[in-house]
């Protein structure tokens, strides 16, 4: 799956100071509704899965069937785009290494997530390398929830990716250039990436890079159909 890793959205992190997010850290993708946050998160998930890492997809909105079908659709696109020949084996691999935890009807609590991860590790020997958290409402969630996630990332030594929705009409930006709704939480995130739709594709722009100054070239352009990096 070398081909995928070359064109994965996570390629943007090659331009970051530490070449990645790193275990124990939080990263977030920010974009307006409909730009493709979830698709991009799932591409990040595939990046991890194709590296044979174990991944937990935490959904606060959708039922597992919907998430599974989302992965299937994206996988189908990847099979076509990357000419994956051993489709069956690759599918088996990612299904074995992916776990979906869904918290429906506002049932999410940090302590439940911690308990569920503990169960995965202790009861079925599923030791995650990364977590994808989709559907968390950044505008409603209190700071202590993010602190809870940070503690979990450190406790389980996982890197954790979130998606956050921005709004066209809310233009608040903090002094470090981080827009609403992450402008008061950026100290908890090591990597902050913004997805910006342009006429020729979606630009992934690095806004925060582990506390070091972000290089002006730290961006990649994604094909809006496949969410894969477009050749420069």
């Amino acid at each position: 799956m070398k081909d995928f890793i070359k064109v994965s959205p996570l390629k943007v992190l090659e331009k970051s100071s530490q070449k990645g997010l790193g275990r124990g850290n939080l990263g977030v993708l920010m974009a307006r509704a409909g730009v493709g946050k979830t698709a991009c998160l799932i591409h990040i998930a595939f990046d991890k899965l194709f590296r044979k890492e174990k991944l937990v997809h935490v959904s606060l909105e959708d039922v597992p069937e919907k998430i599974t079908s989302y992965y299937n659709v994206i996988f189908y696109d990847l099979v076509k785009a990357l000419n994956i020949e051993d489709e069956h084996e690759v599918r088996m691999l990612f299904e074995r290494n992916r776990m979906i935890l869904a918290y429906l009807q506002q049932s999410f609590e940090i302590k439940r997530l911690r308990e569920n991860l503990k169960n995965l590790v202790e009861k079925i020997d599923f030791v995650p390398d990364a977590l994808i958290v989709d559907g968390l409402d950044f505008e409603k969630a209190e700071r202590n929830v993010f602190e809870g996630f940070k503690e979990i990332a450190e406790q389980f030594r996982v890197e954790m990716w979130f998606s956050a929705r921005t709004h066209r009409h809310i233009t608040d930006v903090n002094e470090r250039g981080i827009p609403y709704p992450c402008h008061e939480l950026d100290d908890l995130f090591n990597i902050i990436i913004q997805l910006q739709p342009t006429q020729s594709g979606i630009v992934l722009k690095l806004l925060k890079d582990h506390g070091v100054e972000v290089s002006p070239e730290a961006s990649v352009k994604l094909d809006p159909n496949t969410f894969l990096v477009m050749s420069e």
Binding site: P64, T68, I100, A102, R112, E115, D125
Partner: protein
């Protein structure tokens, strides 16, 4: 259409022993469908009316979904007695399918028990609006307030009390209606005289407080009620309309209380059925249009539209087969011609009856929304009937292949004939249940979708048909499949003495993409005369019935025959048949066959605190956990588990979760069995062959 508005198709669902059969019996009594009351475990040996199966009578539980019709306050009510046990999946699915609303019966002492959770979740799955009835308020330890809290906390219901009790336990004597703010008592030998009084003064404060709660909850569904509350001009009508709206949206659960056994609170519950549960026109029903690739189409519930009806239950009576039907659209009259969509056969409606448990009333016409029964119609349960104008089916035509088999043998001579009667019946009732006689051993083999599925039928054979059977060890339906291409070139030649046999078949076999058998004739130049090719094809197909690895059927393959030879005199169909069988045997093992095992999609629902234990139990069974979803109180763990590992899982799960979890499973796919399992199966097969030879 007015009539349909006043029709209710309801189920009564509950935990075993919370008194639903007694409640049903009282409903039938007050609606004057019966004129005496018998208890479920009655000493008079008559038993309650809805329990038409012997097994149920004996156990005091209800398995079968017998339907009965009654009338209350100008409304017609069809009561479908839904099974409360998770094992009876087909029955549950079918009965829930035909319901428009339901009464969830809860025990005032036991409260929300694990099975109440099960039935409630089934109702959620089918989007059935429901009322709750807290029964057994006369029992020691009864506390309806606690049960309402449990409804909220354990089942996530927006439950609201519509009544409060007058007295409790031994002093339970009536209810206070929080809508009319009157106390209601039930006089007469069987509580048939309803007496309304002022609220006893000691209960007034409690009643006012609970009414406030009711108004708060109901006003969420009605701006008119909110305004009326502010202006202090609340009417009974406004409250009822708001509660009805909330109930139909499944966002409010009105709770009623009583004691069916002591004849308290049943009549107000019947009023509530009419008032707060939907008519068939208020429920959306869908069919599959078979002319348009099974596209989903909404049905109209208009009696003048073309007919669509579903046969949801079959019953054997001494007069023949009785078919329970729910009419979704159109109407059925005596003498009408109906088309069974499954086989396009035409049937004539001879007798059309309305059922009252195991008694019946002849009628001449029934319309959309109604539940009736036909006599003497030969069909399967789940069949859809139309008047021929539409090609709709109420259920998918897809029937999964059985994944487990069991040998059965009659315990005595008398059972022998009864077994075949029972099997004939079950096969018609349940498309996932099959039976056949093994040609070699002469044993009868039944097949189905799981261990419990077959156990239930074995039990029913005994109870309903008096057929005592002995059963073998459950056998998983393994399959074989080749994994690579292999060439064959086989000559069958027998030219010594008598008429000769000669045929040579050359070509190759290879795995097919979708496991479908495909025979390709690429013979050129008449190497094998065309007239012998069907025999070659047939011979290969016959070989697929029993693989050479473990003796199980072989999933499809592509067989290409591209060469051969014949003899002008000695070649025959028979000779080429033998040649093809030889070719199969020659190449099959070279094609590296593998053993495939059925993998089930397993879904376990449990209180969230047991999530870890449930996951561990699946992991121990070679299961792959796909997801875990929490919705407050419950967690659903989805996994894929080989069927062979699922034997006895019900017992394991019960002990792991204090009986609070349930699981369902269905066939997902065939998957390559791990080497250790495959070796074991091969060794067993070798033993079997050896024994057979001896």
């Amino acid at each position: 259409m007015d009539d349909i508005q006043k029709l209710r198709n309801i189920g009564i669902s509950a935990h075993i022993d919370s008194g639903k059969t007694t409640l049903t019996e009282r409903i039938l009594y007050y609606t004057q469908r019966i004129f005496a009351i018998h208890e479920v475990k009655g000493k008079d040996g008559v038993g309650a009316k809805m329990d038409s199966m012997e097994l149920e009578k004996e156990r005091g539980i209800t398995i079968s979904s017998a339907a009965t019709h009654c009338e209350w306050d100008d409304h017609k009510i069809n009561v479908i007695d839904t099974p409360g046990h998770v094992d009876f999946t087909i029955e549950v699915e079918r009965s829930l399918r035909v319901l428009d609303g339901s009464i969830l019966v809860l025990c005032a002492v036991g409260g929300v028990q694990s099975q109440s959770m099960t039935v409630d979740r089934q109702m959620n799955r089918y989007r059935v609006p429901r009322l709750a009835f807290v029964n057994k308020c006369d029992r020691s330890g009864a506390n309806p307030y606690r049960v309402v809290n449990q409804l909220r906390e354990r089942l996530n219901h927006n439950a609201v009390l519509m009544q409060i009790p007058v007295g409790l336990e031994g002093d339970f004597s009536g209810v206070v209606d929080l809508v009319s703010m009157k106390a209601v008592y039930f006089d007469g030998e069987y509580g048939e005289i309803v007496r309304t009084e002022e609220i006893p003064s000691p209960l007034l404060d409690e009643a006012n407080a609970r009414r406030e709660e009711l108004l708060d909850a109901a006003s969420m569904f009605s701006d008119a009620l909110t305004e009326a509350i502010l202006e202090e001009r609340v009417s009974e009508g406004l409250i009822s309309q708001a509660v009805r709206k909330g109930s139909l949206l499944r966002q409010l659960t009105p709770v009623f209380i009583g004691s069916a056994y002591k004849n308290i609170g049943v009549q107000p519950l019947l009023d509530a059925v009419n008032q707060y549960l939907p008519s068939p026109t208020e429920v959306e029903n869908f069919a599959l249009n078979l002319d348009q690739g099974q596209a989903e189409v909404k049905l109209s519930s208009n009696p003048d539209d073309p007919l669509v009806a579903l046969a949801f239950k079959l019953e054997v009576t001494r007069y023949g087969q009785l078919t329970h039907l729910r009419i979704y659209q159109g109407s059925i009259g005596k003498g009408d011609d109906l088309i069974n969509v499954r086989d396009r056969k035409k049937i004539k409606v001879g007798r059309l009856v309305r059922m009252h448990a195991d008694e019946m009333e002849d009628i001449t016409r029934a319309v959309a929304g109604d539940i009736v029964a036909l006599f003497g119609v030969d069909c399967f349960s789940g069949d859809t009937f139309t008047d021929g104008r539409l090609n709709y089916s109420m259920s998918s035509i897809f029937v999964p292949e059985p994944v487990i088999s069991l040998t059965i043998s009659p315990a005595d001579h008398k059972s022998q004939t009864n077994v075949s009667k029972a099997l004939n019946r079950f096969v018609k009732e349940d498309p996932t249940f099959r039976s056949h006689v093994d040609q070699e051993s002469g044993e009868t083999i039944i097949s189905g979708m799981g261990e419990l599925h077959l156990e239930i039928y074995v039990e029913r054979m005994k109870r309903e048909f008096g057929a005592d059977v002995m059963t073998g060890i459950p056998q998983v339906a393994y399959r074989e499949a080749i994994s690579r291409r292999a060439e064959f070139d086989y000559l069958h030649k027998k030219q010594t003495g008598g008429s000769g046999q000669y045929g040579r078949v050359g070509g190759y076999m290879e795995p097919s993409d979708d496991n479908v058998y495909e025979f390709v004739n690429q013979v050129k130049g008449g190497a094998i005369p065309t007239e012998f090719m069907p025999a070659v094809d047939k011979a290969f197909q016959s070989c697929l019935k029993e693989g050479l690895l473990i003796g199980f059927p072989v999933l499809g393959m592509r067989v290409v025959v591209n060469d051969g030879q014949f003899h002008a005199v000695d070649s025959s169909e028979r000779a080429f048949n033998y040649a093809a069988i030889g070719a199969f045997k020659q190449s099959y093992l070279k094609a590296k066959p593998v053993i495939l095992e059925p993998v089930m999609k397993v879904s376990v629902e449990c209180p969230s605190e047991f999530q870890g234990n449930v996951m561990a139990s699946i992991n121990q069974r070679r299961g792959l956990i796909v997801s875990s979803a929490e919705d407050g109180v419950f967690t659903t763990v989805e996994a894929e588990v080989p069927l062979a590992e699922m034997f006895g899982y019900a017992t394991t799960l019960r002990s792991l979760t204090q009986g609070k979890a349930e699981f369902t499973m269905e066939f997902s796919r065939y998957s390559k069995a791990p080497a250790a399992v495959a070796e074991e199966l091969k060794a067993e097969f070798r033993d079997r062959v050896k024994k057979g030879k001896k």
